[in-house]
Symmetry: C2
Subunit: 381 residues, 2 copies
């Protein structure tokens, strides 16, 4: 009998949220988690370090495809897995663009995709040059290892990244930092899509993402007050990149929208993405189901919306001891339409502990419900 077995490296909330569609389709999900009691512990079949080649190879035995909860598995290890005869989706080649922001900028430039002004710098002098020619301010990024605002700094003087310019650290980062103009954007958007090995491509509607302190706080789907042209351009851009970079699985393109209505690529993610959590309730096919289908090279599911609007709010920890499950009764009695997602993590200030989703015909009503529900959930008793 055929049995699809998907191996996921990383036991965070993304792996956790792949479990329900895996149950529905009877796909066996195996997770290589970093720790015991990970958010994905139900599917965790191995605990170990994803930077250990032997561990990842051991984990890959008997699976149909290896995929990811995060982008941090060294490419050399993934190539070894491929050599062992196991499919890796997205491929190491594609994933290199999500792992390294300089590799990404260069590839995007080659594909003619809209980048902010950028350059690679390896010294304080080069950085100062860029700052001078870009209005006295820039964004400096470590090419690898950053996420949720980590590895990113707004910089007006090279002294603010002296630590990153340290010879040894710089070498460990590949010898160069990425410098980008500080884009004067009006809002941030995200274009989520999926592609399988056969080349089938499917894109959800463009969404607006609202960040607080560099971390996603709210997602509105579809992005409100957006022209047909922008919606179309975003999907075309995602398709260009997915095909040009050879992406398989779910693919998120984070975008800036400028004053002039231009879209610029901010970041790429090659896995289910925070901007797509709304699809669990909001779409015929969730990003988690689609990622399983796409990585297994099955036909993609419909990305049609289940409602006019979907609103997704992240739940970030406000205390190191308080568990928001204590507020379930209060929020459930007042908001029977709110869908609560709790990742089962131990609470910590600022940590992504869960999210909630509301669908509706009226955006303001849905947003109001979601915000009030989050406020109640986060009340520390």
């Amino acid at each position: 009998l055929t049995k699809h077995v998907v191996g996921v490296v990383g036991g965070g909330q993304l792996a956790r949220m792949m479990t329900p569609p895996a149950i529905a389709m009877d796909i066996e999900l195996r997770v290589l988690a970093e720790t015991e009691n990970s958010p994905s512990e139900l599917a965790a079949t191995m605990v170990g370090d994803f930077r250990e080649e032997s561990k990842v190879l051991e984990f890959s035995v008997g699976i149909s495809v290896l995929t990811f909860d995060h982008e941090h598995v060294p490419l050399s290890i993934l190539r070894s897995v491929e050599t062992s005869g196991v499919s890796v989706q997205p491929t190491p080649q594609a994933l290199s663009h999500a792992q390294n922001k300089l590799v990404m900028r260069r590839a995007l430039q080659e594909l003619g995709a809209p980048n902010p002004s950028w350059r690679a710098v390896s010294s304080a002098e080069e950085l100062e040059d860029f700052i001078q020619s870009h209005g006295g301010v820039c964004i400096v990024k470590t090419p690898i290892g950053g996420y949720d605002g980590k590895g990113v700094r707004v910089v007006r003087n090279s002294s603010e990244v002296l630590d990153w310019l340290d010879k040894d650290l710089l070498e460990s980062l590949g010898g160069e930092l990425l410098v980008e103009e500080k884009v004067d954007f009006t809002r941030e958007l995200a274009q989520l899509s999926a592609r399988n090995q056969k080349g089938d491509f499917s894109a959800w509607p463009l969404v607006e993402t609202r960040q607080v302190a560099g971390v996603c706080s709210e997602v509105i789907a579809p992005a409100p007050k957006t022209s047909e042209e922008t919606l179309r351009k975003a999907q075309e851009l995602a398709k260009l990149l997915a095909e040009g970079l050879g992406v398989t699985g779910v693919f998120a393109v984070e975008l800036f929208e400028t004053q002039g209505g231009q879209l610029l690529v901010n970041e790429l993610a090659m896995r289910p993405h925070n901007s797509g959590h709304f699809t669990i309730e909001g779409s015929v096919t969730s990003q988690f189901e689609q990622h399983l289908r796409a990585t297994l090279n099955l036909p993609l599911g419909s990305v049609q919306s289940r409602a006019k609007y979907a609103v997704m709010l992240n739940i970030l920890g406000v205390s190191d001891s308080y568990d928001f499950v204590e507020n379930y009764p209060a929020v459930m009695i007042q908001f029977p339409d709110v869908k609560i997602h709790n990742y089962g993590k131990s609470p910590r200030v600022g940590r992504k502990l869960g999210h909630l989703t509301v669908l509706g015909d009226d955006l303001e009503v849905a947003l109001g419900q979601a915000r009030s529900a989050r406020e109640i959930l986060l009340r520390v008793k």
Copy 2:
């Protein structure tokens, strides 16, 4: 930290489908399964016989509430669990009505609920009397142990149930068989609802169920061409019974609709029910999430529909060796809107192996898609 722990006796597809909402709400689900490799193996924390008191008591240690995937746990065992201080929902008292069809008929009669004509018989003579006074035909049911058409016979002569009238077997069934008139119904309906210990009650829209050989084949939600009065009467009846019998958790009332438009109670189930699988995609709150909420005495979720119509078709095995996962590509490419649910059971002719659901504004389109998709899924290569 608070942690809700729900223990489910029985590792079938109903327990399996409780897993996704348990993951979403971070409720720990523990399952006492009959066998290894049960449909609910992901949540199975113990394998053992639910008729063994010591096993069920051992399973109940440390859980918030004990509930069920089926109705067959002996009441004496459930009373022992209650005595040990663990909440059992539905209570043994309520559950007695779902376990024993004679207990149910008597209670319904007392509550003034619409029963078909019925009586308890303990001899061939009594049975012949009933047959004579009901047009020469009747339905004979064993009061306990029946499901999916098992334990139910259409009888024209008492000789057709000689085996059930055998003194020893009859005694094991409680000394009596249930005899009911063969209702001349126009269609079968099911009213699904939920109730928690606080008494909160919530009912999904009435659905039409279509049986083939005594097993549910299709469910249409809401029941098409149904008067407001019938919809209202069905919900009022469910509320009367839920309150009158003290039901907690999800509650299904299977109904006959007669030529004259009357509703008669056919069967009761006190757990998620085949007629409610459409709620996974079709309702803001699925029956599986609602069952967890209700048994934990949390406020109930909204039962609003996500689409005008939902169609659910069961997938019954057509071969003992063929696994319908082989037809995933064929059905997925043609029907990207169809949601496939595969219970992970080994195939067997006639066995419920899964179901599929389609939502839509046009009932005929949705039904057509679902039927074609099932046909493709069941093609044996």
